[in-house]
Amino acid sequence: HTFDFQSDGNILDMSFSANEGASLVVASRSYADFTPEATFDIKKVDLHRLEEGPPLTSTLTREEGLKYYRTMQTIRRMELKADQLYKQKIIRGFCHLYDGQEACAVGIEGGITLSDHLITAYRAHGYTLTRGGTVREIMAELTGRRGGIAKGKGGSMHMYTKNFYGGNGIVGAQVPLGAGVALACKYLGNDQLCVSLYGDGAANQGQIFETYNMSSLWKLPIIFICENNQYAMGTSVERSAASTEYYKRGDYIPGIRVDGMDVLCVREATKFAAAHCRSGKGPILMELQTYRYHGHSMSDPGVSYRTREEIQEVRSKSDPISMLKDRMLSNNMASIEELKEIDIAVRKEIEDAAQFATTDPEPPLDDLCSHIFANDQPFEVRGATPWTKLTSTS
């Protein structure tokens, strides 16, 4: 059998061309030596109010592996680039980085489809990418330019794309919104669900418990996901929560606690949770145990409430990208050169995006007043004084 490759080097799109003959072969190498798929043992999850959990093994195909690797590497490099641009004061304001937690975003997306819905809090750059945003749009939004995914008006915390409702600044406020989206899915009967994420700090907000109640009562297709990275800003989970078993906090809602550093664990758990929702059983709660390498935001060095040794230990023992890489290499699913090529391609993509993000012009001043209300006709917005007006267009 031969494999076609698209000329832009995108190895993700491969079509099986057994019937089309040798004339379509453009590859110079044959990948027939690699293992097309392998099955891995994954950690058992902890269960709450469930008889069975997700499977203890996960089958990964070569394509999936390369896709997950590339996406996680893209998120990692993008966040590190954002760190760099922030220190150069090209990105300003607030910037909450996701490196360390890549397996969560990529694993979740592996368990649902793009027609499902997702909402999260402010550590959202990774999700913006997995939900369909491009690195260019994300970086331009960070620098506040018109090519940004929210036209430069939102910044780091407010990024949106189709079926991705942000990007939300107020902690915990996004969870009831997710329930609303889930209600719409149930009402429209489209078999879609909503993934509603929040952190270990937000888990103590009252509105989350209100949401647990409503979604259980009405059996909404919502997956609550608590991304527990052990620290709410600088407060560790032991110091802020009476119960650190976040997967049990939904009480009457079934819950599972998952290793959030293993992309396959996250994927299998998400598939399990999605099946639970789609069967009409109502909500389910997933706790992903994960870790962020950076501080809470760029103004937090991240070492005043935890030791450098702790960060280093997680990096060396549980890094999600290394874990996937080791698995693929030791099972001959990819070669080191191939992964290096991906790294180089990712690096170039990030560089190009950063270049765009620093040279794209800022949005025009009229955008200050646009999109306040929906309006057919432009209307006047009062400016700094009652007699200065700007025009709002929609």
Binding site: L368, I372, G383, P386
Partner: protein, 342 residues
């Protein structure tokens, strides 16, 4: 010997310690005085134990113990509700909301519980021992959720007091007044001034009366009214007006938003005939509207020109557009020119 003692004491009083303090240090000093003199005083909020995200509570936990300075989980509604309960039971409760932008989950507790406690219980109960502190106002890079000035929402609520200082000396005095006041108070601290404003502040406790506006600079042609950070903008504008237009401005710091000092402002406008009010919050429904309405009622025949308001736009506080949004000195100066030439 007696004479020497008297002299020493007089000298000590005149040369009392007034070190340089910035705004967050003046807050710490006020809280330190309170915890020292009032054994029922407790401070709580998100991250206050290690010193707070703006360092307002540095050192207090070590000095006074972990049952008097403690962290709460991330739950504003819970923090204020808990604070009301503690205050009703007799503790001097000082709650911190990490940013004024986050105060809205607690809005119901403040407006429906705290503000109405005394009234609905016929004076049997009250939560006058409650003070809520929150960082307030624009900071240059805060964007939608770290820059808001919500005083207008609370000005509409009888039963609470809303206070905003312009600098370290006022901050300490006003905060101590709020803590002492027998009504629930909300104290907004201009976050951009936490490090930027430095003054010589007395280390011992003192109070500045609430509901009293301060005439910072006397003048005869235009009355300027503001609070918090905007006072410093208007101070510069007053100098510009004097130099470039020969216009003498009277600058008033309102200090207490609710209940506000109508008398000082109206007396000034009766003298000058012209009024300019400025704040960062959006113009529609901002507190300038209340001041404007009251002044035109009281001083209608004194007015030489319509009352001017220079405020933020009617938009959410923007991310990249902040420099265009804020009511800067040029917009205020322009408004003065229009006032003078009406």
């Amino acid at each position: 010997m007696l004479k020497c003692d008297m002299v020493t004491r007089m000298c000590a009083k005149y040369f009392a310690v007034h070190p340089d303090m910035n705004l967050f240090q003046s807050v710490t000093s006020a809280l330190d005085n309170t915890l020292a003199s009032d054994p029922t005083a407790v401070i709580f909020g998100e991250d206050v134990a290690f010193g707070g995200v703006f360092r307002c509570t540095v050192g207090l936990r070590d000095k006074y113990g972990k049952d008097r300075v403690f962290n709460t989980p991330l739950c504003e509604q819970g923090i204020v509700g808990f604070g009301i309960g503690a205050a009703v039971a007799g503790a001097t409760a000082i709650a911190e909301i990490q940013f004024a932008d986050y105060i809205y989950p607690a809005f119901d507790q403040i407006v429906n519980e705290a503000a109405k406690y005394r009234y609905r219980s016929g004076n049997l109960f009250d939560c006058g021992n409650l003070t809520i502190r929150a960082p307030w106002g624009c900071v240059g890079h805060g964007s939608l959720y770290h820059s808001q000035s919500p005083e207008a929402f609370f000005a509409h609520c009888p039963g609470i007091k809303v206070v905003i200082p312009r600098g370290p000396v006022q901050c300490k005095g006003l905060l101590l007044s709020c803590i002492a006041d027998q009504n629930p108070c909300i104290f907004f601290e201009p976050k951009i001034l936490y490090r930027a404003a430095v003054e010589q502040v007395p280390t011992e406790a003192y109070t500045i009366p609430l509901s009293q506006a301060e005439v910072i600079q006397e003048g005869s042609d235009v009355t300027l009214v503001a609070w918090g950070t905007q006072i410093h903008v208007l101070r510069e504008v007053a100098n510009m007006a004097q130099e470039k237009l020969g216009v003498s401005c009277e600058l008033i710091d309102l200090q207490t938003i609710l209940p506000w000092d109508t008398e000082t402002v109206c007396k000034s406008v009766a003298k000058t005939g012209r009024l300019l009010i400025s704040h960062e919050a959006p113009i529609t429904g901002g507190f300038a509207a209340e001041i404007s309405s009251t002044v035109q009622e009281q001083c209608f025949l004194n007015l030489e020109a319509p009352i001017a308001r220079v405020c933020g736009y009617d938009t959410p506080f923007p991310h990249i557009f902040e420099p265009f949004y804020i009511p800067d000195k040029w917009k205020c100066f322009d408004a003065i020119k229009k006032l003078i030439s009406y």
